[in-house]
């Protein structure tokens, strides 16, 4: 062994400020509430998600009970609508995403040999937003009724005239809260993966689960703000009587569908890619072979991520986009089959010729392969627009996405639970109960959803609370309901297995599966700081390398540290985080800008009432705009001075920046007051709505930026930057410049267009 000679990654980094709880907090009564340890937060995510899984599961069982027989009156139509809406929203936002994020939280730092996430406190905030969002969503039940417009909340059904309870408002608020939390986690994961990898662990060597989580995080950063912007506009419609998505006031209902699916399709991959990552860890371990075609699995993920933003309209074939658009989206949707198919072959190629051990985890992974292929194949049939017209909004769709999300993602997650439970708890789950769990789940799942393909082809529409007694419909639905209850039983077995194994399970040891990735190099469960020392990394399977180091001729000389041919760039975690945040903010503003352009510059609206040309005072605004742009320059001067250690000058320039930003805000406020005075309010017409949302959110961001600048100014004056160099000003500065760039776009689109 040459470990003593090899340079080890110091697991404990004394220089970094201790964001972890101290021992008192570790053990005190609030240990779990106050924790910022990524492992505890990961477990909190998983437990909370399991709780919501039970809630969503009960909702599903109620739905299936109602549908078990034709003409059933168990549930009222309205209760049924609320149940399927809550079931979908719960399973997607409160179960699948948090579970995947929870696994990412627990295992990404372990897999890359890091001590914690890049921003432990931010991590805790992200977690606590999740139960808060879940609470908001369910509070609607007590506030007059749960949302009932389906998980994609199509307008105008979800607009005030058609759903008068506050359910949709709570739905919007919950999604906003959850969206913010998810984006924060995604930024944290990106910063962690890019900046905290152990030496030698290049991006071409990290475990595939880390790759998938990385790509998923990028998708989350770009896709969730689109949803946030869309639901904000919906909320403006509902609470402030605007008409963005209401045809009655000149709005456009289809715009909601475009916005929603621009988020919604990447969302499908957000829920699928980490599951692919789990499968890519489980299958090699239990086939005793390295993954076949690592490069292809990783690169095809990137291809899926890019394509996912270009295919949303395949959810909208039935709305009449026109022949050429249908053709283009059908083509691009079918393309996704290629990278996905590549992955399937990689997994089969890994199993091929391996010595497979069918543990419960591997059984789930194998079932995943088969069921995901079924879901993928029915997905391809949807890519053909004519078939889509035939079966859209039938149970064929329900069957399809449950094969992808349950037969695929949920099975992968269950495999992941059996695979990683020993690492998290120190004890193995019972294999005997595991087998019961697996077989009940497979039988129940396929019974429930396979028959739904036939129901869909027979023409049974989804989202109907009951159905007439047509030939076969009753029998097929009964079979489906029986299957659902078998799955419920399987979930109980899983809960029992976890409860029993936690107390009486076999002790796992560090590496019960003889796996190769870094998380198995530490104890189970890992110590607070994860590793006493991180093993040297020279390849994709560090533990295998370690175990077989003695096989070949043993090196007698100390081995030179492994360095990639090009030095990997050293990235600052703060700068990475701010750039990721800027990307997400850009996506948010992009939607607001598109809404403005769509209603004001594309010649669609032409509605009566105020317009940019008739009510905006361009010269006055130009003056405030000048102040804002000047503030970018003064901030830059401040940064320069801080670099030169001229703290006094830096503080003065920063003060000028704050003053200029404040002048801009005052100017904007006076502009708003003037408009209100002339009777132009948010709900006046679509120009007013889109103008106020766009400039209002920009103003909000300027305010946020000012607060951040004031905090930095305070720290600067307190002398915090004298002793250790800080990239805080640089990070806040980047954000401030970004806000200015947004205004540049807004000013030229809204004001200059109006003037010219």
């Amino acid at each position: 062994m040459s470990t003593a000679a090899s340079p080890l990654h110091p697991a404990a980094d004394p220089a970094s400020d201790d964001a972890h709880g101290h021992d008192a907090v570790e053990r005190g009564p609030f240990a779990w509430v106050a924790t910022v340890d990524h492992k505890r937060i990961g477990i909190l995510y998983l437990c909370t998600a399991f709780f919501f899984f039970c809630v969503g599961g009960v909702e599903a069982l109620l739905i299936r009970l109602q549908l078990a027989r034709p003409n059933s009156t168990l549930l009222s139509p309205d209760a049924y609508n609320q149940l399927f809406t809550m079931h979908g929203t719960t399973m997607i936002f409160l179960v699948v995403m948090p579970t995947l994020v929870g696994f990412g939280n627990y295992f990404v730092p372990l897999m890359i040999g890091a001590r914690d996430m890049a921003f432990p406190r931010l991590n805790a905030m992200s977690y606590w937003l999740f139960p808060f969002g879940g609470f908001l969503l369910h509070f609607s039940v007590m506030a007059g009724g749960a949302p009932s417009g389906g998980w994609f909340a199509y307008t105008p059904l979800t607009e005030t005239p058609f759903s008068s309870t506050q359910g949709t408002d709570y739905w919007v608020l919950a999604l906003l809260v959850l969206g913010v939390g998810t984006v924060a986690t995604a930024i944290n994961l990106i910063a962690t993966i890019l900046t905290l990898r152990a030496p030698g662990l290049t991006m071409g060597r990290v475990p595939l689960f880390v790759w998938m989580t990385f790509v998923t995080s990028i998708l989350m950063v770009l896709a969730l703000p689109v949803l946030n912007a869309a639901v904000v506009l919906l909320l403006v419609d509902r609470q402030l009587d605007a008409h963005v998505f209401l045809a009655s006031g000149g709005g456009n209902t289809l715009l909601w569908q475009h916005f929603f699916w621009t988020f919604g399709h990447p969302e499908v991959y957000i829920m699928a890619l980490p599951a692919f990552g789990m499968i890519s860890e489980i299958i090699p371990t239990f086939s005793r072979k390295p993954i076949f075609g690592y490069e292809f699995v990783a690169a095809s993920t990137v291809a899926i991520a890019i394509l996912s933003f270009g295919v949303w309209a395949h959810h909208m074939f039935a709305v009449g986009l026109g022949h050429s658009a249908d053709l283009a989206f059908a083509g691009s949707s079918m393309l996704i089959a290629i990278p996905t198919g590549v992955k399937i072959f990689n997994w089969i190629g890994t199993m091929w010729g391996g010595s497979i051990r069918f543990t419960t985890a591997m059984l789930f992974a194998t079932a995943f392969l088969i069921q995901f292929v079924v879901g993928g194949l029915s997905g391809i049939t949807f890519a053909a627009a004519p078939i889509d017209w035939q079966v859209t909004d039938t149970y064929y769709v329900v069957a399809h996405f449950h094969y992808v999300l349950f037969g695929g993602t949920a099975f992968a997650i269950l495999g992941g639970v059996y695979y990683w439970f020993p690492k998290m708890s120190g004890r193995l789950l019972s294999e005997r109960l595991g087998r019961w769990n697996f077989w009940l789940m497979v039988v129940g799942f396929n019974l429930t959803f396979f028959v739904q393909h036939f129901l869909g082809i027979l023409g049974m529409p989804r989202r109907v609370f009951t159905y007439p007694d047509l030939p076969y419909w009753g029998a097929l639905n009964m079979a489906s309901t029986v299957g659902a209850f078998v799955m419920g039983l399987a979930a109980l077995v899983l809960a029992a297995n976890i409860a029993i194994s936690l107390r009486r399970g076999k002790v796992a040891g560090d590496n019960p599966w003889d796996a190769w990735t870094l998380e198995w190099a530490t104890t189970s469960p890992p110590p607070h700081d994860n590793f006493h020392e991180v093993p040297p990394v020279h390849g994709r399977r560090p533990l295998w390398d370690l175990a077989h180091a003695g096989d070949a001729a043993q090196p007698t000389e100390p081995v030179a540290p492994s360095r990639p041919r090009r030095a990997e760039p050293v990235l600052d975690k703060g700068v990475v985080a701010v750039w990721s945040f800027i990307a997400s903010e850009a996506a948010f503003f992009l939607i607001l800008v598109i809404a403005y352009v769509f209603f004001n510059l594309s010649g669609v609206a032409g509605a009566a009432g105020p317009s940019a040309a008739s009510v905006l005072d361009v010269p006055k605004t130009a003056v405030f705009t000048g102040c804002l742009f000047a503030s970018s320059f003064t901030l830059w001067m401040s940064e320069k001075n801080l670099e030169r250690e001229a703290h006094g000058a830096a503080a003065r320039w920063l003060l000028v920046t704050v003053a200029l930003g404040a002048v801009f805000l005052v100017g904007q406020a006076s502009e708003y007051l003037g408009l209100f005075h002339r009777g132009v309010g948010v709900a006046t017409n679509l120009f007013a709505t889109t103008f106020f949302t766009l400039t209002g959110f920009h103003g909000l961001h300027v305010t946020m930026g000012l607060v951040a600048l004031l905090i930095v100014l305070g720290r600067l004056l307190a002398g915090d930057f004298r002793h250790h160099r800080s990239s805080v000003l640089r990070a806040v500065g980047l954000y401030w410049h970004f806000v200015d760039v947004v205004w540049l776009v807004v000013f030229s689109l809204v004001y200059l267009r109006a003037a010219g």
Binding site: R205, A299, V302, A303, G310, S324, A325, H538, A549
Partner: protein, 267 residues
């Protein structure tokens, strides 16, 4: 005119493009063969695509008839010809003193701006119309598209490997370009306003408008929609392929290095 007639008769010899092709081929044939031979395929394909874009019916229809044909030509000139030419002519450029060119083109922000600018700039209405009214502007358009395309692909495919972007920043560079390009595509596809007014009412010098409008079913609106979709979907695929290419380099480097390090261990 029939479709077949259109496809066979609308070729013309663009003297400038022809001269450029000949010059490139000759310059390429001149240096002693050997290791340069491998790169002949991309260069040949690049020249072929150039000929197709400028001298085939695509070029003719792009000149004031069909917006979609114009878009196809545009994309071929920015996204297909330059990267293939860079791949093919790489050794040639390396042989000459490419350092000075590289210093200017090697700035990713400038190159990105030029590449994305190439997409947006020529779809500004006045410029777009001017290009089909004046032969000179049209020529300037073609040349600038090629030049901006080359500038865009330089940080990805520069002849000297040191001048290229690292794989992950390279992927980011291409991805953001893809987003910017898709946005324009979306705008063009869904915009009810004609992007370039000439294509709404073409002057039918060739006598093909009946065929295009009725035979092919390309009304002015549909024509623009197809053009927008071309910029949106296939163009994005080119960037996606580029991203896969640079990621492939990331993995190859790690792999190659992994082997060398395991050799180190053994030695």
């Amino acid at each position: 005119m029939t479709t077949w007639g259109l496809l066979t008769s609308c070729w013309w010899l663009d003297p400038l493009a022809l001269a450029a092709c000949l010059a490139a081929s000759m310059a390429y044939a001149m240096p002693p063969a050997g290791r340069l031979r491998v790169r002949r395929v991309p260069l040949a394909v690049a020249l072929l695509v150039l000929v197709l874009a400028l001298m085939s019916p695509i070029g003719r229809l792009a000149d004031g008839y069909l917006f979609s044909a114009h878009m196809l030509q545009h994309l071929l000139l920015v996204l297909i010809v330059p990267p293939l030419a860079l791949l093919g002519a790489g050794p040639l450029l390396r042989a000459r003193n490419a350092g000075r060119v590289g210093r200017v083109l090697g700035r990713p922000l400038v190159a990105w701006g030029l590449g994305v600018g190439a997409m947006w700039l020529w779809h500004e209405r006045t410029l777009c119309d001017a290009a089909s009214h004046s032969a000179l502007v049209h020529r300037a358009q073609e040349l600038s598209l090629l030049a901006m395309g080359t500038a865009f692909w330089w940080p990805i495919l520069a002849p000297r490997e040191e001048a290229r972007l690292e794989p992950l920043p390279g992927a980011l560079y291409l991805f953001t370009a893809c987003v910017a390009c898709s946005l324009l595509g979306i705008l063009v596809t869904f915009s009810p306003i004609q992007v370039c007014s000439v294509y709404a009412h073409p002057v039918d010098r060739l006598g093909v408008m009946t065929l295009l409008r009725e035979g092919w079913g390309l009304t002015a609106e549909k024509d623009q929609q197809v053009g927008g979709l071309l910029m949106w979907v296939p163009a994005c695929l080119v960037y996606a392929i580029g991203i896969l290419g640079v990621l492939g380099r990331l993995f190859r480097e790690d792999e190659a290095h992994g082997e060398s390090s395991s050799q180190e261990v053994r030695s």
